[in-house]
Assembly symmetry: C2
Homo-oligomer: 414 residues x 2
């Protein structure tokens, strides 16, 4: 089964907004077993939308469309789809109830313009959008399916999970699919590939492997297809177990999409707390953890110790340490991580110090030189890295390195 994604919106074509919908949808469709063959972005323009829809309906089994469903004049998707499928608009009772429910909850009065949101083409099936007023519409023609969804990211994602994907799997009798993520860190993609080649070649034919490299780590994704979920589960578990003898020391976790999720899950489960002391990563380690709901259960706080002065006054790094070894040194990062753990009285701590660049490098410590430390109440681990001369890459890789080191330390505790 293949799929085309069509995202509609002028804001995407002027580059005002990054099209995260396309990647979210592609990720979810791929995980559900559909192959995305094309993503198209067009503006709120009749001819362009029509062409994109018509072409996609000829080439793809499933066409997923977002955007252009607002109640204002420049949102034309619904009218166009109505015409494309040779139908007529009518007021759908279920969609109207949903619009009323949302307006009541927000304490707004329902206007005629908003009521129009409940009008849909007679030929489509309405999939209720619990989070918004624009109904999700499911069209079929000659075995091809077109689904039109709101372009608001959180509405789209909810609809994909709760309405669209289950129905697509049923419609196309796609059987069972099982995805398993394995997070690997501390080895480059090509070395990993060499290392696990015998294992990969021995995988059963119904299990496929994908390498997804992300900022200093690699996510391995196993995708198994078949008819029986329990059998797939057993086969995948066996395959994963067989990976450990060769690659176990690089595996930091399973079943999570990202390292912050894994950190959050482990610390919450263990009932332990974390503090951070960041120099070159400038708050990014904290920011990615606190972006996830529930962070207050384990994250006590942190110090962004960007200047030496703050390393001394807020973390207790000794002046002599900074003077003798420099801010980017093992000695400093040790005092940072111990300082923040004891001052914030947490079970675990992370610290980073380095030269993100583009300036500040020396022959001894070129741009991209970074020290990371993690510690518990009894142990401390430090590591030196060289990340090259691109600032954001250095920050991103350091952040992932730090999470991975912490996870390894947490696992020792298990």
């Amino acid at each position: 089964m293949n799929a085309t994604i069509i995202n509609i919106g002028d804001e995407l074509l002027i580059g005002q907004v990054v099209n995260t919908n396309a990647s979210t949808m592609a990720r979810l469709l791929t995980a559900a077993g559909l192959e995305v063959v094309r993503t198209v972005v067009v503006g709120d323009n009749r001819q362009d939308i029509w062409d994109a829809v018509d072409r996609a309906m000829h080439c793809s089994d499933a066409v997923l469309v977002t955007g252009g469903l607002g109640p204002t004049k420049d949102d034309i998707t619904k009218h166009l789809l109505c015409e494309y499928f040779g139908s007529e608009l009518y007021e759908n009772a279920e969609a109207l109830d949903n619009v009323k429910r949302i307006f009541t909850a927000r304490g707004y009065e329902l206007t005629e313009v908003n009521r129009r949101q409940a009008w849909v083409p007679r030929c489509c099936q309405v999939l209720n959008n619990d989070l918004g007023t624009a109904p999700c519409m499911w069209f079929e023609r000659d075995g091809h399916v077109l689904v039109s969804m709101a372009g608001v990211p959180f509405e789209m994602e909810w609809l994909m999970h709760n309405r669209v994907l289950p129905r697509l799997q049923q419609h196309f009798s796609m059987g069972a699919i099982l995805n398993k993520n394995i997070l690997v860190q501390g080895i480059g993609e090509s070395f990993l590939s060499d290392l696990i080649e015998p294992w990969e070649l021995a995988l059963p034919s119904f299990i496929r492997l994908a390498y997804l490299p992300i900022a200093g780590m690699v996510k391995l994704r196993l995708t198994a297809r078949g008819n029986d979920v329990a059998e797939l589960q057993a086969s995948v578990s066996k395959a994963v177990a067989e990976l450990y003898p060769s690659a176990g020391k690089y595996i930091v976790g399973e079943d999570c999409e990202t390292l912050p999720e894994l950190v959050a899950h482990k610390l919450t489960t263990m009932g332990c707390t974390l503090a951070t002391a960041e120099s070159c990563t400038g708050g990014t380690i904290a920011s990615r953890l606190t972006a996830l709901a529930g962070a207050s259960a384990y994250y006590k706080g942190g110090i962004v110790a960007y200047s030496n002065e703050v390393k001394e006054c807020a973390l207790g790094v000794r002046h002599e340490t900074l003077a003798t070894h420099g801010a980017v040194s093992e000695e400093t990062v040790r005092e940072m991580v111990e300082g923040v753990r004891s001052r914030l009285d947490s079970d675990y701590a992370i610290a980073t110090t380095g030269i993100a660049g583009p300036t500040g490098g020396t022959p001894d410590k070129p741009v991209g030189t970074v020290w990371v430390a993690v510690c518990s109440r009894t142990a401390i681990v430090t590591q030196l890295m060289h990340h090259g001369d691109r600032r954001q890459q250095t920050i991103d890789r350091t952040v992932n390195q730090a999470y991975a080191m912490l996870i390894r330390l947490l696992c020792q505790k298990d």
Copy 2:
């Protein structure tokens, strides 16, 4: 002049990578005066690339292609373009020099595979890629232009600025274009639109206005086209000056793309320092500032005071204040901002405390309730906001609100 963007890469179609290239390119092309009418993503698949290229060459004046230019077998863009334009590959001396230069600089030996990067279709013009080994290729046919670039974001962006955009403007005799950004905060888009309608209607016809709303603020972009840059400059300056009487109190700055850039510019120019104390924004204010090179010139550091304990021990918020008024209160945010400013001895400080959600709300202080404070050595400003129940939206809006409040305080000092 209209343009189509084609991004090639399997990693985009499985949703592994967010397609930031498309938005960066769209933003740059729009600012240069081209209208982007379509963005297409296809995989490393011959037929799909061919179809996308062929269609775009018929519909658009300019076709911008990224990706598929690596030296390995799955990168097929160059061979396909060679065939599409009926040409043959040859080793280009300038491209080879560039490959050699880059390999020498990185200390790698040049292999036969890497040398292949210097082979290009005879019919194209090579635009040198200073940052990478894949040459940028410029093709022309029947007045239409196709440019093929590396998909690595920083190479693409460098090529767009330094090679592609200047040449496109020359090729299409596009005349002068001038963009001016005005950052507005503290008023919703529709209210702003009403407020400045008379001004907008009075704009000369060669100046266009766009509203670009972003996380609690609006970026107004004026785009002027003509033949004489000095004249455009004068007209745009006049238009901007005329905007101040009606909307001046909401304008936080000009000429920057983002608020962190503006904060960085102002503080660096003034030679002043900043410290941050973040609760609900969890390090995001710090992280977005330190993502920009040169942050150490003005940013001393900050405290991520996620728990009450850290608010007390690291910021000196009084226990009675937290007990009496709660963590999310004007009293607490005042003590946070004063605490971090005095403890880190900075000229200015920012503090945030709120309920990002989804849990933690009360009838009194529902999810989305946030207090922000900014202060100098002599003044302090606080503000209460209600951002609704979406965690990331609350964080993003709070962060922008805090930057805007700081900029206003910095301007008073001017």
